[in-house]
């Protein structure tokens, strides 16, 4: 079920809200969980078994780790001071064992559904190369929806218990609802237990105010998807599928169009998730913060798919770079390279791990791995060059805080991101490189060419106005102005006029019907 179908928006959501409100407060969490699991089963059928197994595994592991911690505290009270260290170590090992088993159990499902075939194809290539007369059988199977999203949520829960950030939940309904809350299943965001679990479980009534406030965000998500993303999809499909028929500028336009389309589709979906959350009184974390206003690629990733970046930062980057081995490495590197570049050594190892995993998380394919490595390289280079750039600017008298320089930085950053997303979208690495090559080798431009990409003048006008609208909203948000709060404070008549205007805009200018192909939920495949 797509979030952007009329059935979802106008039938399913109101239906869920009515059913949820009909039940007494105490039962609402269970009702929401049942609806979420039904939603899951509706899309993925019997694969629902896997999310249930995941939930049970983290529930038991959480309780197990908590019991070990409790036992440790009891034992510590009874032993002498010089034995305490050994006791702590021994219980830490036990806790770690439970954690590692739970991680292996959950990652094994992920591997089986997402990576097994990629692994098998590449092993088979090696076997063939070495003329070994055997091969691994490729199994075709569908993965449960949102497995990449809910697995990371599930792992964050057990890791947070291991690190002592949160207490294990004794209530399996609360925990299950945190992992399986239906709007988050398709494209995230990857919330933390502390973000949503308690509020989801509370069972707050959906009021007229919370419903309309949430719906406001949902409509904005619809506008991004239907007015902009589905329109840009025409160019993207046209050029990516037959790039050899187009020259450089068209390829460039399609690459830019793809990144904007991805942004509008993904952030539009997240708007819907956040909007539904708001109806139930739950603050689902924001996943985007005006990414194209970032100064460099590193900052871009703190503003784009924020929840994934934070997950990697908390559970991969810092644990790897601050592990004992890495700390020893840092110590040695500092002596040779000084204070700025010394820690960069272990930082880069951790960063490499983060980006390899980030690439792989998006999908099993060499182009995804390259996508990860590309960003690793860009972020690392940005960091290494930073002191020299700062000095050079100072020498040339360039004020890096001035608007002109900031715009230059954002444009440079955007171009680097566009190229990265090309590797992401292209069906293979070879195609991505061929497109880049053709973009430079066949560079020419005719105005008429714009109309050979499948969009007519009306499409371009709607697109330009739509993007200007989104851009203005972005500037306001960047300045800390909350447009939605402001609208909800307006008089009833004004508020409804704005809502109707937005609905009309979507109905009139939405890219649906003949000639348009809606964008598939891109991130739902990851």
């Amino acid at each position: 079920m797509s979030f952007f179908s009329p059935v979802f928006a106008f039938v399913f959501i109101p239906f869920v809200v009515i059913v949820y409100n009909l039940f007494p407060k105490k039962l609402r969490a269970a009702v929401l969980l049942a609806i979420s699991l039904l939603f899951f089963a509706f899309v993925s059928r019997w694969l629902i078994l896997y999310i249930i197994l995941s939930i049970i595994s983290i529930y038991l592991s959480g309780l197990g780790m908590q019991a070990i911690e409790k036992k440790k505290k009891e034992v510590l009270k009874t032993v002498e001071k010089d034995e305490k260290k050994a006791v702590k170590e021994s219980y830490k090992k036990k806790k770690k064992f439970v954690l590692v088993m739970c991680i292996i159990f959950n990652v094994a499902f992920l591997f089986m559904f997402k990576y097994f075939n990629f692994f098998a194809v590449n092993v088979n290539l090696l076997l063939e190369y070495f003329k070994v007369g055997r091969s691994i059988t490729i199994v075709k199977h569908l993965a449960p929806i949102g497995i990449s999203f809910y697995t990371l949520e599930a792992l964050s829960y057990v890791l947070d218990i291991y690190y002592g950030k949160i207490e294990a939940d004794k209530n399996i309904i609360r925990l299950a609802l945190y992992v399986a809350f239906f709007p988050q299943l398709l494209e995230g965001p990857i919330a933390r237990y502390q973000d949503t679990a308690e509020a989801l479980y509370e069972g707050k009534k959906v009021t007229f105010e919370s419903f309309t406030f949430g719906y406001q965000k949902i409509l904005y998500g619809f506008a991004k998807k239907l007015i902009i993303a589905d329109r840009l999809n025409i160019i993207v499909k046209e050029v990516f599928e037959d790039f050899n028929s187009y020259n450089g500028i068209s390829i460039f336009i399609s690459i830019v169009a793809y990144t904007i389309m991805l942004y509008m589709e993904f952030s539009g979906t997240i708007d819907i998730v956040i909007g539904i959350g708001e109806m139930f009184g739950v603050k689902v974390p924001e996943n985007f913060r005006q990414p194209f206003f970032a100064k460099n690629v590193s900052e871009f990733w703190t503003r784009w798919h924020i929840s994934l970046g934070l997950w990697f930062k908390d559970y991969i980057f810092y644990p790897v770079s601050l592990s004992k081995t890495m700390k020893n490495l840092t110590g040695k590197a500092k002596k040779k390279l000084g204070n700025h570049y010394g820690p960069l050594v272990s930082g880069s190892v951790a960063l490499l791990a983060v980006w390899l995993l980030n690439g792989l998380w998006h999908g099993a394919g060499w182009h995804y791995i390259f996508f990860g490595l590309y960003h690793f390289f860009m972020i690392l280079m940005g960091n290494i060059w930073e002191p020299s750039v700062a000095k050079a600017c100072e020498k040339m008298g360039i004020d890096r805080k001035k608007k002109g320089y900031r715009i230059f930085q954002s444009v440079k950053m955007s171009i680097l991101v566009f190229i990265g997303e090309l590797f992401f979208r292209a069906p293979s690495l070879a195609v991505a490189f061929a497109m880049l090559k053709r973009m430079f080798n066949a560079f020419s431009f005719r105005v008429g060419e714009l109309f050979e990409l499948g969009m007519d003048a009306r499409d371009y006008v709607v697109l330009v106005f739509g993007l200007i609208g989104i851009f203005i909203m972005g500037i306001l948000r960047e300045k800390g102005i909350d447009v939605r709060e402001n609208i909800s404070k307006k008089k009833l008549v004004t508020r409804w006029l704005i809502y109707y205007a937005l609905i009309l805009l979507i109905l009139i200018f939405g890219a649906y019907g003949q000639g348009y192909v809606p964008v598939d939920p891109i991130y739902a495949d990851f």
Binding site: Y163, T302, S321, P343
Partner: protein
């Protein structure tokens, strides 16, 4: 505190460390700089900063970082 500000100045010059209170959220310090900072703090103040303490709330201002150092020294 002075020593801490010197370390910060050395890693990322040009920031008003006495007053800025969004060092992480305002992107004055990125992950790699924080890594250098942690390594410097651990050497200078003889503490070990566990991963769980690396949250924006602990690193958003020089005062907050100082609070963290003092707390870790006490816990030791």
């Amino acid at each position: 505190m002075e020593e801490l500000i010197e370390i910060l100045e050395d890693l990322q010059p040009g920031v008003d460390y006495e007053n800025v209170d969004d060092l992480v959220d305002g992107r004055y310090l990125d992950s790699l700089t924080i890594l250098s900072l942690i390594s410097e703090i651990e050497d200078a103040f003889d503490v070990e900063i566990p991963t769980v303490e690396i949250i924006p709330a602990n690193f958003n201002s020089a005062a907050k970082i100082w609070e963290l150092i003092e707390r870790l020294q006490e816990e030791d």
